[in-house]
């Protein structure tokens, strides 16, 4: 694949034509002050365009670029013209502010010549500043990519990078592990505690046994104490007299109370007896004394519950009859008054005899008659009202109505016949004007016709005008004639309308109705409204009259009905004997329906008189009956009360007397009953008190007997009682002490018994009962400590049991194990990720390393060759791909690689120049484009400048036009004096002279103080001639002193040591090559021809270099290189605190790594950690500072050298003697 790429990108310059710029004209450029300048006669080789600053060099360079790539112009606003030669074609390119015009051989073209894309334009412009500031990443990346056949292994590696945080996972796993260990430790603790449960339970058993024994011992002690108490109490009780035992304590009070109660009983007996006697006397004086022998209840029952209620009933009945009589009397009086009043009203029309004979049926007939009178009167009144409404206004007049309607029609006819006189006037006026115009148009047309006829006959030029004019006027005449006819028709219509209106007016004026104020439409309309109102009024009157004519017959029938009713009334009055004439001779009350009202009035008062008479009769009958009943009840009252009244009392005659007798009887019965009950109670009390007194005496006797006391004989009761009371008090005073002694003894006895009972439950009660108090106390003391620990042990066991149960329900450890396993898994995945990452990196590195050299593209090889040539083999172009592709320069003398930032500016410019030129050469397709260099030689010393010039000359020699712009005269001189330019066409153009810029000399030197002009001669190395000099002598001529340091890079070995032919050596040195590395670099880049060295000569030099290198390597075994302070700092093993101290120690031991480490191990620097010393030793070993191998002997080194060059010796390139000589030269010092 890479071969294919190489073929694709192989230089094609040899078979491609070139674009040669022959002339550039700058007509306008914004960045340049000169309005116009032109640079012509440019050669196809190298054009050195010089001039002072502001002479237009940059403008010219940009103009070239703009003309080549106008689609991305450097000078956007400029007006440029360029003439190019592309093979045999002549191109003219015009550019004006973005517009491009191509011509090829004088023919316009739409497209210009084939060119690389504008993005590659920078490759053709090699300005010093760009080279100094420019970046090479794109070129380097391209080469790297191309080296890998278009693959970017680094990018692929980056794309596959995966993030993993092994530290975080470790911390997480470590944390989970700690949590797990913690949980396990807690479980272990719990397990240990659970293991102690058996011992704890045994301890608990012992403690509980001790506690039980303690309880028994305590009980035994208590039994002993109770027994002693019981004995003492018995002794104290036996000291009291026997009678005291009989004392209850309340005997004194009881005795005193008994004596008091005996006295009270006697007093009560006397009082009751006296009361009984008083009541017997009162009973004997009662009016009801013959009932004294009866029970009090029976007296009250017979009188109060039997007689008195009966009497009260009679009293109430008599009072009711009295009230009824009075009411009947009043009712009769009132009825008589009503009848009298009614009679006074009707007495004028009614015979008194007839009043009582008028029946109720007759009264209903009168009532019916009155209703019919009333209905007929109502009908009459309604018809009269209707007649007033229908005939109360104007009389109906049909003729007038018709006249009004005819007048209205005429007025409406007048109004419907419009007569616009003003319009008519305007129409007449218009007709007149139109007639005049029609006549004028007719005249004009005729005149035109005549004139045209005349002009036509006389061949005048204007006759068509006349014809046209006559035609126009003829058309005008016709139009007016038509319009006039229309107008007249309208006027005729207006006249017809006016005649009809006049007819209506005349017809109206013939009527009797007043004419409108004026025969104007508004006045006529107003008059029409008035007539229409009159039509409405007359029409209404006519309609009312028609209605009344229909109702009038019914009105006349009502009078007949009234007369019939009057006759019927008179007949009925005669039949019942009423004289209605007396009554109806009066004036009617209301003015209508009077007959009905009068009949109603008469009937009502006859009925009222009849009702009053009936009521008066009824009341008189009721009064008589009431009085009879009253007398009957009073008699009954007397019969009932008479047996209970005293003899002196007479019979009652009226209600108050009867009431007084009744109350007297009631009171006497109540008093007798009460006295009888009181006498019985007094008798009972007397008997009770007598019994009580006997009981108290008996109780007193018993008390005295219980207290073993006898009443002293012969003394008064009072004195005897006092004596006995004193004796009783003496006995009672001893009672509390006796009772206390007795209680104490009983309590002690009961307690003792309880203790005995409990002790008998013990296995061996006798042992405890018989043990002495001291023995028991001693044993209690002995067991109390053991029993006291029980609660604590019990609590501890419960706590452990609880924790164990909790633990059995928990899953904390299981969860933590799961967490730890998950964390380990994550960590394992991180490890896998790390392993994958490392594997990828190593694979990628392997791929890059293995494919790098074989697949580097041609552009890189060309760049490397150019770089080696420009630097005379000193540097080799390398590409570093480890961390993004970038160029590096490998110093073949020092054998170190440096990045662009580490290179001097000259070397950097050379490197980038080589790269870009290589790209231009290798990557260009189509025609070769001009290369523009802008002061590229600046910053380069003479050898480098010469090399660059040679390279550019070679580029030009291959058919590419080159522009070199400079403001420095010395650069121009370098070009002028370079032998290299002789092979190509070269032209020097003073741009300042063309553009009129300031003198070229003015900018020389002063602006470039670092530049030292070499008299216009390009530097040539000062190499002594080798003619006639031996190899050793030539060493002196070259000024080489001493031998070689085996630690030096082999590349920096001077070629004198490797060559034994002074003349050939001189030739190499004159080519600027003095060191082996540079020569080797040139050879590797196929540039030996630049130094004139044959391959055979090079092979011999190479063989000697190989031998010398083998010697150096062998010599370094066991030696290492001296330690520098930079090494100490780079090791990372020495902190800032110790660095100065260790550096001083290193200086003391002259950079010997072994001695330095031994000194550190010996503790020459206090506080320097052992681990740091080991780290430092590891760094020294890794960086070949410390080589702990044994040094080789001379023979060993010799053997290694011979082994290294064995192939060359075998091939006859080198002999052993020559090898020996080389080594002798190297170590001559």
């Amino acid at each position: 694949m890479s071969e294919a790429l190489e073929a694709k990108s192989a230089p094609v310059s040899a078979r491609r034509g070139a674009i040669v710029c022959e002339k550039i004209a700058v007509h306008r450029a914004r960045s340049f002050r000169t309005a116009h300048f032109e640079v012509g006669e440019l050669c196809g080789g190298i054009n050195i365009i010089h001039g002072p600053n502001a002479a237009g060099k940059t403008t010219l360079a940009h103009a070239i670029l703009t003309l080549l790539w106008p689609q991305d112009p450097e000078l956007e606003r400029a007006e440029l013209v360029g003439h190019f030669r592309v093979g045999a074609e002549r191109w003219r390119v015009g550019f004006e502010a973005g517009r491009v015009h191509y011509q090829c051989d004088g023919i316009d073209r739409d497209l210009g010549p084939l060119l690389p894309p504008a993005e590659l334009r920078d490759r053709y412009y090699l300005g010093l500043r760009d080279l100094l500031d420019g970046k090479d990443e794109d070129y380097a990346a391209y080469i790297a990519r191309e080296s890998a056949g278009g693959y970017d292994v680094g990018a692929a590696l980056s794309a596959l990078s995966e993030s993993s945080s092994k530290r975080a996972s470790f911390r997480k796993a470590d944390s989970a592990r700690a949590a797990l260990r913690g949980a396990e430790a807690a479980q272990d603790d719990l397990r240990r505690e659970a293991g102690s449960l058996r011992e704890l339970r045994q301890q608990l058993q012992r403690a509980e046994a001790a506690q039980t024994r303690l309880e028994w011992l305590g009980l035994a002690l208590e039994f002993h104490a109770a027994d002693a108490l019981h004995m003492n109490a018995s002794q104290r009780l036996s000291a009291f007299a026997p009678a005291v035992a009989m004392v209850r304590g309340d005997e004194a009070q009881r005795f005193e109370a008994l004596c008091g109660r005996i006295r009270e009983a006697k007093a009560a007996q006397e009082s009751a007896r006296q009361r009984r006697d008083e009541l017997s006397a009162a009973i004997a004086q009662s009016p009801l004394k013959w009932h004294a022998e009866r029970e009090p209840g029976s007296v009250e029952a017979s009188v109060l519950d039997g007689i008195v209620p009966t009497l009260d009933h009679y009293l109430l009945e008599m009072e009711r009859l009295m009230r009824d009589g009075l009411a009947s009397e009043a009712k009769a009086v009132e009825a008589e008054a009503k009848a009298s009043k009614a009679w006074q009203l009707i007495s004028t029309c009614v015979e008194p005899s007839a009043l009582e004979t008028i029946s109720a049926e007759a009264l209903r007939d009168f009532s019916d008659l009155a209703r019919r009178f009333d209905r007929v009167a109502g009908e009459e009144w309604a018809y009269k009202k209707l007649r007033g409404i229908l005939t109360g206004g104007n009389a109906a007049d049909l003729a007038r109505l018709e006249a009004l309607r005819a007048a209205a029609r005429r007025l409406r006819g007048w109004l419907r016949s419009p007569a616009d006189e003003a319009q008519s006037a305007r129409a007449h006026k218009a007709i007149r004007w139109m007639k005049m115009t029609r006549a004028a148009a007719l005249c004009a047309a005729i005149s035109g016709a005549v004139a045209s006829l005349w002009g036509g006959l006389n061949a005048q030029e204007l006759w068509p005008v006349w014809v046209a004019g006559s035609l126009v006027f003829l058309l005008l005449f016709l139009a007016i004639w038509r319009a006039l006819r229309e107008l007249r028709a309208q006027v005729d219509e207006g006249k017809s309308q006016g005649a009809r209106r006049d007819g209506f007016r005349r017809d109206y004026e013939k009527s009797d109705f007043p004419a409108p104020e004026a025969w104007q439409p508004s006045a006529v309309e107003q008059r029409l409204d008035e007539i229409e109102q009159q039509i409405a009024s007359v029409s209404s009157d006519v309609e009312k009259a028609a209605v009344w004519s229909h109702e009038e017959d019914a009105y006349l029938a009502t009078a007949k009905k009234q007369r019939a009713l009057s006759q019927e009334r008179d007949d009925l009055a005669a039949r019942v004997g009423l004289n209605l004439d007396l009554h109806f001779g009066r004036q009617f009350i209301l003015g209508f329906g009077g007959e009905a009202a009068e009949l109603w009035w008469l009937i009502s008062h006859i009925h009222a008189w009849q009702q009053a008479r009936i009521e008066a009769a009824s009341a008189g009958a009721g009064l008589a009956q009431t009085r009879a009943n009253f007398e009957e009840i009073l008699d009954k009252f007397r019969q009932v009360i008479r047996p209970y009244l005293p003899d002196a009392t007479s019979d009652a005659r009226d209600i108050p007397t009867a009431q007084a007798q009744t109350r007297t009887l009631e009171k006497a019965a109540r008093v007798l009953g009460q006295n009888l009950r009181d006498r019985l109670r007094a008798q009972d009390l007397l008997q009770s008190e007598e019994a009580r007194g006997a009981g108290e005496l008996a109780e007193t006797q018993l008390l005295l007997e219980r207290l073993q006391l006898d009443a002293p004989p012969g003394e008064s009761a009072q004195m005897r009682d006092a004596e006995l009371a004193r004796a009783i008090d003496a006995l009672c005073a001893q009672r509390p002490a006796y009772q206390a002694a007795k209680d104490e003894k009983l309590a002690a006895q009961a307690h003792l018994q309880r203790l005995r009972t409990r002790l008998e439950q013990f296995d061996e009660p006798t042992e405890l009962l018989q043990s002495s108090r001291e023995a028991l106390q001693a044993e209690i003391q002995e067991l109390s400590n053991s029993a006291g620990a029980r609660d604590a042990i019990l609590s501890q066991i419960a706590r452990i049991d609880s924790r164990v149960e909790d633990a059995k329900k928990s899953s904390a450890l299981e969860q933590k194990r799961a967490d730890y396993q998950a964390a380990l898994h994550q960590l394992s995945e991180d490890l896998d990720a790390n392993n994958r990452s490392v594997t990828r990196m190593i694979l990628a590195d392997f791929l890059q390393r293995e494919t790098r050299d074989s697949t580097r593209p041609a552009v890189f090889r060309r760049a490397r060759e150019l770089f080696a040539r420009i630097t005379h083999g000193r540097y080799r172009l390398d590409l570093e791909e480890a961390d993004g592709a970038q160029f590096r320069a490998f110093d073949t003398l020092k054998e170190i690689a440096q990045g662009l930032d580490e290179l001097s500016s000259g070397t950097r410019v050379q490197l980038l120049l080589a790269v870009r030129v290589a790209f231009v050469e290798q990557q260009e397709q189509g025609a070769k484009l001009p290369l523009i260099l802008d002061e590229t030689l600046a910053n380069s010393d003479d050898p480098r400048a010469r090399a660059i010039i040679e390279a550019v000359v070679q580029i030009a020699a291959e058919g590419r036009q080159v522009f070199y712009f400079t403001a420095q005269r010395d650069e121009v001189q370098k070009w002028r004096h370079s032998d290299a330019v002789h092979g190509v066409e070269c032209k020097f153009i003073d741009l300042g002279a063309i553009t009129g810029a300031p003198d070229f000399e003015a900018s020389t030197g002063a602006q470039r103080p670092d530049w030292v002009e070499k008299s216009g001669v390009v530097y040539q190395p000062d190499i002594p001639s080798a003619d006639g000099l031996s190899h050793a002598a030539y060493k002196e001529a070259l000024g080489i002193d001493g031998g070689l340091d085996p630690r030096m890079p082999i590349g920096s070995v001077h070629l004198w040591y490797l060559s034994d032919a002074p003349r050939a050596l001189e030739q190499i040195l004159r080519a600027g090559i003095s060191r082996w590395g540079a020569l080797q670099n040139l050879e590797q880049n196929d540039a030996l021809q630049t130094v004139g060295l044959s391959k055979a000569q090079y092979t011999r030099i190479q063989a000697r270099a190989t031998a010398l290198a083998a010697f150096f390597e062998a010599w370094k075994i066991g030696r290492g290189r001296p330690v520098r302070r930079a090494d100490l700092e780079a090791s990372g093993a020495i902190s800032d605190i110790f660095i100065d101290e260790v550096a001083a120690l290193n200086n003391f031991y002259k950079g010997n790594a072994g001695d330095l480490l031994a000194a550190l191990e010996a503790g020459e620097i206090k506080g320097f950690y052992r681990q740091k010393r080991l780290d430092l030793a590891a760094y020294f070993e890794a960086h070949e500072i410390l080589d702990q191998r044994d040094k080789l002997s001379d023979s060993q080194r010799w053997n290694r050298v011979l082994a290294a060059v064995a192939p060359q010796i075998a091939a006859g390139v080198l002999t052993t003697q020559e090898v020996r000589e080389v080594l002798l030269r190297a170590v001559a010092s």
Partner: protein
Amino acid sequence: MPASRVKILCTGDLHLGRYPSRVDTNQHRFSGANIWARAVDFAIAEAVDLVVLTGDIVDRENRFFEAIGPLEQGIRRLGNAGITTFAVAGNHDFDVLPRVADALNVGYFHLLGRHGDWETRVFERDGEPIIRLIGWSFPTQHFPQSPLDTLVRAEPDGIPTVGVLHADLDSGASRYAPVRRAELGAYGFSAWLLGHIHRPSKSRALGESLLLYPGSPQPLDPGEQGVHGPWLVEVGPGRPAKARQIALASLRYAQMEVDLSSMQRADEFEGIILESLRARLHQWAQQARESSSHAYLPERAMIRLKLVGRTRFRREIESRFARVIEDFELSVEKIVARVEQVQLATRPALDLSDIARGNDPPALLARLLIELETGAPSAAYQPLFLHLRREVAQVQRDNAFALLRAEQVVGDGIDTAQLRRLVQGEGLRLLDELVAQKRSHEDFVPVRGALK
């Protein structure tokens, strides 16, 4: 002579106190204790005669109270239901089970073969012996001899005999009571109920003896795939013992290969995974319905995906790994499936032999991969592998991974096979990346200036 069969619920390797690994949740329902409780429920509901535990009931790492509590509770519940439990101790609980037996001290739990001495118990029904159990327990954590060396053969008396043993079958160098199938068969027992191997297996020895490894009733790590649960063993006189697995496990691990060769677009990836997974879950459900009257299904399935086939979307697939593992969840008939790990074993769509013809990095890499596929890499790659081995070992020696070494998850180095797999995997990824970044070298195609 007993006339009826004896129903035994057999399980072992419960490892109570150890939670299954690689499960995305730490819920109790996935713990061994929960499955043990389920087994107890089942035994009571099924009214079995005996429960036999074949050792490693308690995990050695958690041989404390957390494991003992559920065990004691279960045994008590069985005892209250009139079911006797027989057990032997395994290498994990050789010291725990005797303590549990002593602590319980009940007539319905018997630890057989304490101190490594064979012990015989006869189980009676209605006063008649119906089965004989002969068991042996681990006396120490390791027991490199065969326990059968001390088991004396007895003359058959018509009572079915069941051996209960925690042992490593047909693994002579094992430290865990190695026994041989032929030896077990020679005793003429109706069945040998074994423990120690977590993967359930049922086989027959000579003489029709049933050899049953009930396996762990709940799988404990992704290696324990397949259906798990206790076994219902029926033993009777004159007939071979029968065993039927009761799939009580709430968790199931599975590895599933998904061929991605048919992928046409990268976004089809999830769909293919989903369909494959759904088909597998439906298959489980179907098998469960067909295989047993107790159609138990796991509640959670942890799937380890292996992606195979030829595809050009390796990079895109890799970018979707994390999402599949973190977000992917599929429910089928109460089974909730999640992806536990994804192993990418696809091959590039390109032919390695074609790529290997060039001289660029992909060609070199392809040649290496071809050599790895066909055998050991040639000597030219030996320095590379030496370098790799050294560097990988260096990574593993990193202090950050000290815990992995301490827990013996990894050693100090890496073996050749692992290294080759590593190189193959990463080589394929690198090759995919390189092939993908290949682009044309048309950067320098000339253009013509155009009129503007």
